[in-house]
Each structure stands twice: as structure tokens, then as C-alpha cells.
């Protein structure tokens, strides 16, 4: 059950960030009144809200210093999806840095 909740939580977090970033980019061009921008923004907020409440549920069962770092796997996921979906620039330094962050976070979480 906990693994399942973790997976939904991480998926919602990644999708939410992508929607938000895309909405903010589009808002530079179209403004906040545009329906598409608003829909993207609200979808992002909805996904992050789901992720938020699932986080609280998980916190009721695990130490914060244990649970929170597991979310770190979202670092590499978000960097890669931002590059693939939003066409942001991927540098070797960025990849190495985000991998180090994820690995570091992973080590914190298994200890």
C-alpha cells in the first residue's frame, strides 16, 4: 500500500511541475486570462494538491527525515521530462549535478 501511495505521489509531483512550468511559459506569451493557460495552471495545482495530501498521509507513518528524501528521485525525473517535454537545454553538468542530488537523497533515505 505504501509503495503504491509513494508512486502516485511522485507521479503527481512530476506532472504537476511540468504543467506549472508550461503554464508560466505560456502566460508570458498569452497572459493569465487565456483559457489554455488557466487550464494548464489549474491542472498543475490539482496534481500538486494530490501529491501534497498523499505526502501528509505518508508522513503519518514514516519519519520525515526518512520519507522526505525518497521524493528526491523526482529530481532526475523532472530534469529529464523538462528536457524531453519542454525542450529545455540539458548539459552534462546539469545531468551529473541532478544525479548526485538524487543519489545523495537516496543514501539519506536508506540509512
Amino acid at each position: 500500500m505504501a509503495i503504491f501511495i509513494f508512486m502516485i505521489e511522485i507521479f503527481a509531483a512530476v506532472v504537476g511541475q511540468l504543467f506549472l512550468k508550461h503554464a508560466m511559459e505560456e502566460s508570458n506569451r498569452l497572459g493569465f486570462r487565456d483559457r489554455g493557460v488557466l487550464a494548464l495552471f489549474l491542472s498543475g495545482v490539482a496534481a500538486l494538491t494530490i501529491s501534497f495530501f498523499l505526502t501528509i498521509a505518508l508522513l503519518q507513518h514514516f519519519d520525515l527525515s526518512f520519507y522526505f528524501p525518497i521524493q528526491g528521485s523526482t529530481v532526475v525525473l523532472i530534469v529529464l521530462t523538462a528536457v524531453l517535454v519542454l525542450r529545455e537545454k540539458l548539459t552534462l553538468r546539469l545531468l551529473v549535478g541532478s544525479l548526485l542530488i538524487s543519489v545523495g537523497i537516496g543514501i539519506v533515505s536508506v540509512s
Binding site: G97, S98, I107
Partner: protein, 133 residues
């Protein structure tokens, strides 16, 4: 950075502010969640935690951090801003150790150190860009 910002409107400053709000909110969420863990109904939804005042304070901080975050997203690429926002993975364990009384093992400290290294790798070119401005 295409244009000059006042210090408080500088996206990098707002990013730091965002991480401080997130850290404080996470610690308070843990405090609130612990307080309400004996409430069994709707357990896996986390909704019962709303009976704790700390959860509400944390929610206010989450909203503030969110406002900071969308401002940051407007100016900084997600693939740079998001890894940097993970400085919370250093700040949260430190805060847990300092304020919540959770114990950190040697291995956990190593993990924190590797995160700091990763942050430095991502942040260095950003610092150089800033210097040129």
C-alpha cells in the same frame, strides 16, 4: 537573465525564500501529522491531519512557497530551478535533527554531503552567469 531585478524580486533570491518556506512547512507537517496519527478514520488520505493547528500554519507556508515557486518558474528553466530547490533535502534533515529531535546516522550525513555536492555542480554555472551581469 534578460533584465535587472531589484534584490527582493530577483528570481534567485525568491528561490532561496521558497526553500526556507518549504523547510519550515515540512517540519510543521511532521509535527502536525504526529499529533493526529491516532485518528484512524480516512487514515490513508491524510485529511484528518487538518485538525492540527500546525498543519494549517504549514499550509500557509506551502501557499507562500508556491507563490514564490511560480514566480521562479516564470524566470528560471525548470531543469535548473528544480534541482536547486532540492537544497531542502539538506535543510530538512538538518531541521529534523535540530528541532524535531530525529537522529541522523553517519550514512545519512554522507547523503546530505553528496546532495550539497550535486547542488554545487548545478549551481556553479549559474553563479558565473550572475557574476557577468
Amino acid at each position: 537573465m534578460p533584465r535587472a531585478f531589484r534584490w527582493w524580486a530577483n528570481p534567485w533570491f525568491v528561490l532561496i525564500l521558497e526553500t526556507l518556506f518549504v523547510t519550515a512547512s515540512e517540519v510543521l507537517l511532521k509535527v502536525g501529522a504526529s499529533e493526529t496519527r491516532q485518528v484512524q478514520a480516512w487514515e490513508w488520505t491524510g485529511l484528518m491531519s487538518l485538525t492540527s493547528i500546525w498543519i494549517w500554519v504549514a499550509i500557509v507556508l506551502v501557499i507562500l512557497s508556491f507563490l514564490c515557486w511560480i514566480y521562479v518558474l516564470r524566470h528560471i528553466p525548470l531543469s535548473i530551478a528544480f534541482p536547486l530547490s532540492n537544497v531542502v533535502h539538506v535543510l530538512v534533515p538538518l531541521s529534523c535533527w535540530l528541532f524535531v529531535g530525529e537522529q541522523l546516522s553517519a550514512r545519512r550525513w554522507c547523503g546530505v554531503a553528496i546532495v550539497v555536492l550535486g547542488l554545487a555542480v548545478v549551481a556553479r554555472p549559474v553563479a558565473k552567469i550572475e557574476e557577468k551581469l
